[in-house]
């Protein structure tokens, strides 16, 4: 423990604007509530003798206490609205407030999913319009709108592939899925959830799929490849069409992980690259808020060969009216969720797309790539880029520049916190030692990027100058310092209990 002599401990533990806050269970009372209701009538119930008599164990708080509780908690969070959030692969861009306003219009926010379709024509029109934008931007003929998140979209795409293979009578034969070593963890997890086995494709020296190695692994037992493009090293797969051709020749499908679509939206149509299925993270590319880990939305575009297997429901337009088809066709693989998908994300994403327009979306991709390359150019003198050449929307560094300093990637990241930044993605992709993946997005100004780069350069110099101890102690200015994750996992405490509080 290091004590700053200029910052003596306070009686309350508070540090001016940083105010400590107990759990709601330690503040509230069982008889207290922050909601007023009219009195209930005195009449017998019809609960069939299954009423709840015991204490539920949930204290309530008055409205001012509730407000203060959550506002104090909020002040312990870092957020895009406070500063750069350069998490590679996460696309932490500005979340426009117009989107929030649109999503809260009662016609969208207070609309029941099972309202008669005549009462929901505008909502169906919105879904259809967003679907049109997504199909046009990707150059794909069909889109399944219901997946609830990126990984759910992967599941959608891979289920469609599984159904197509089954329909060809090759279900028992084609059981392997290939994915690069650098793939997101969701890719192999998704493939296994669909009953496939997963094999890794090695990368080449330039950070891309090794085409020759891929071809060797292809055969008539391969169902699909799952490739992220631009890939998780922030690089465009130069051989992408050769990869697609090779897989197609072998009778397999090409699933593209669309997590990095922000780099090419409005510039390149994935459909032109031979993609058969791709999910789109509306919460990355199209600015719907990440909200502390969700909700997301993962509409999945499909090639003609996979379109018949798409899940229910979907919207069709006929005679100027919109119809929601809720019963899966005979060929469809079924249903991914109750109701129709993440409508609240659809409204926000369409609001963003219409605001930018196609000219703006192209500018977004260009600025995102420009910003990443600017960071790469400014930092490469002191830090070590993992690969040669330009990057796409994110710049990947390894930890060679920290060699023999005693400072590791995690220490470098924690020191960034004290400088007022959210760290970059660390230790991912797995193919790069001590990876640091920086995705600035288009939302950063040059001024903000210059300060960010200056701060990282100064950290790199300090690390090399032998400040390992200070790095190991970081962060010191955050609401909490490094937390003991090992203890948390060894003896998990996953809920508050009164017994524990009494100890």
């Amino acid at each position: 423990m290091t004590v700053n002599p200029q910052a003596p401990p306070t009686f309350t533990g508070n540090k001016a604007l940083q105010i400590e806050e107990a759990l709601s269970f330690e503040i509230g009372g069982f008889d207290r509530t922050g909601v007023d209701f009219p009195p209930a009538e005195d009449r017998p119930n019809r609960l069939g003798g299954l009423g709840r008599d015991s204490d539920i164990g949930l204290p309530g708080l008055s409205e001012p206490e509730t407000m203060r509780h959550f506002v104090r908690l909020s002040q312990k969070n870092y957020a895009i609205d406070m500063g750069p959030f350069p998490l590679g692969s996460c696309t932490m861009k500005h979340n426009p407030r117009l989107n929030e306003k649109i999503a809260r219009l009662p016609g969208f926010a207070d609309l029941h999913p099972l309202a008669p379709q005549a009462c929901a024509q505008g909502a169906l029109e919105l879904i259809d319009t967003l679907a049109f934008w997504l199909k046009e931007l990707t150059g794909m003929p069909a889109v399944a709108m219901s997946p609830k998140a990126g990984a759910h979209g992967e599941l959608c795409g891979m289920m469609a592939i599984k159904a197509a293979i089954d329909a060809r009578g090759e279900g028992d034969k084609r059981t392997r899925v290939l994915a690069p070593e650098s793939a997101h963890g969701t890719n192999p997890a998704t493939a296994v959830q669909c009953g496939f086995t997963v094999e890794e494709i090695p990368g080449d020296a330039t950070g891309r799929v090794d085409l020759a190695a891929l071809k060797e692994k292809l055969g008539d037992d391969v169902a699909a490849i799952m490739v992220t493009n631009p890939n998780t090293c922030g690089l465009f797969e130069r051989d992408i069409r050769a990869i697609a051709d090779a897989v197609h020749e072998a009778g397999g499908y090409f699933y593209c992980d669309g997590a990095n679509f922000n780099a090419i939206a409005g510039k390149v149509k994935p459909g032109d690259l031979g993609v058969d299925a791709m999910h789109i993270n509306l919460h990355k590319t199209f600015s719907t808020p990440h909200g502390g880990g969700g909700p997301g939305a993962g509409p999945t575009v499909l090639a003609q060969a996979l379109a018949p297997y798409a899940p229910a429901p979907y919207v069709v337009r006929q005679d100027g009216e919109y119809h929601l088809v809720e019963t899966p066709s005979a060929e469809s693989f079924g249903r991914l969720t109750a109701f129709h998908g993440q409508m609240g994300m659809f409204t926000r994403a369409l609001s963003y797309m219409m605001s930018h327009g196609v000219d703006g979306i192209r500018q977004v991709a260009e600025d995102a790539v420009l910003n990443a390359n600017y960071v790469l150019a400014r930092l490469k003198g002191e830090m070590t880029p993992a690969f040669e050449g330009y990057c796409m929307h994110e710049a990947l560094f390894d930890d060679r520049f920290l060699k023999d300093t005693g400072v590791e990637t995690i220490d470098f990241a924690k020191a960034m916190i004290d400088e007022g930044y959210h760290p970059m993605t660390m230790y991912f992709p797995l193919v790069v030692h001590g990876a640091m993946l920086i995705e600035p997005t288009e939302s950063e100004s040059k001024r903000e990027l210059d300060l960010f780069c200056d701060a990282l350069l100064s950290l790199a110099k300090r690390a090399k100058a032998g400040a390992a101890e200070a790095f190991k102690a970081a962060p010191v200015y955050s609401p909490r310092r490094r937390l003991d994750e090992t203890a948390a996992a060894r003896k998990p405490v996953l809920r508050w209990t009164p017994a524990k509080a009494a100890e």
């Binding site: 759990l23 069939g48 539920i56 963890g185 502390g292 910003n371």
Partner: protein, 446 residues
Amino acid sequence: MRYLPLNDADRRAMLKTIGAAKIDDLFCDVPNDVLNASFDLPNHMGELGVERALGAMAAKNRAAGDGPFFIGGGAYKHHIPATVDHIIQRSEFLTAYTPYQPEIAQGTLQYLFEFQTQVAALSGMEVANASMYDGSTGCAEAALMARRITKRKKAVLSGGLHPQYAAVTRTNLELLKDEVVAAPVDVSASEDLAAMIDDETACVIVQTPDVFGNIRDLAPIAEAAHAKGALLIAVVTEAVSLGALKSPGEMGADIFVGEGQSLGNGLGFGGPYVGLFATRQKYLRQMPGRLCGETTDVDGKRGFVLTLSTREQHIRRDKATSNICTNSGLCVLAFTIHMTLLGQAGLRKLAILNHQAACKTADALSAINGVEVINKAYFNEFTLRLSKNASDVVDVLAEQGVLAGVPGGRLWPGDPGAENLLIVAASECTTDADIEMYAENLRGAL
């Protein structure tokens, strides 16, 4: 463009630093013939234009608050305190990422910990996760979890399970070539599920109140399942009911799956919602999804972290318990705030008001010729058997300004036995005037 801070002077200066002549030099790895594709899409638009265009779409929909409203079926209209929407729009919550850097994400982590405690208490279970996408996907994940625990490949679905939940579960299980045995549609909660459970059964999935609103006693089913080494998965689509009814944990459920939309989250045409997921301590390591746990920092102060991530895809990849990556963060926050405001005292009152509104509605409607209430025991939702096709009746009443409920034909298309069924939900939002207008119009339509 208002969302982009760079101007052309910035762009030129930055390209110079990079050493590139023009922007497309940075796209040099993209095949030339596909770069700068053309699109049949409009150019950018100001705020006012976007508001007009999307406002016009919103205006074509009939909001639940526009008149008498009685639709449920897995999504429920409740009043949301103003505090909820204010807090979830705070930048620090709205624009944060998954709390992978816990030192600067204690706000998110602490509310996840509070949420897990609330869900465990409501469901009567020992441990809850930090949420699933929604109730239906949680239901499928629960079936997959039961499969991992029991190493068996057969799931039994109650005929009172929401048909879309059943469809999602079936889609996920059949992909793995598992056997899914669905009981026939069971309007009156009279099925004998115990007879369907055998030594091959991994889980039996039962909803209470079921899709028709019947309150089900899970205890005998739990007993029958456990006797055969199977797990009971209890599904609750109306979270407010947990304030009035015996908890799934109390009745012996092994996994609880809930839709948390009713607390803090609007109808939103079906999403985003928030899946509640809880189980027994002994099954913890087979649970899908994120978990938040308590720990201390190097100064000994209490803090929270994401934990047991060795179950998850970003660590375990093809050996993960699920491919799930996101949770429903902001919807969790809305749920937690609403639940914190209510406390158990408020939740009980809310639940009683819901039940009484449903009783009153049922009494008023059942007095009409050609209307029969099917349920004996119900919470805030019940089912009518009408003398006519319920879809037609719903359409007629919608034109008269009353959203009357979910017709059987919507959930079981093509099933003649469901055609005349109408599932009706009431809540604290239902007024006496709403009920009167409903009864009057229904009388006219029959």
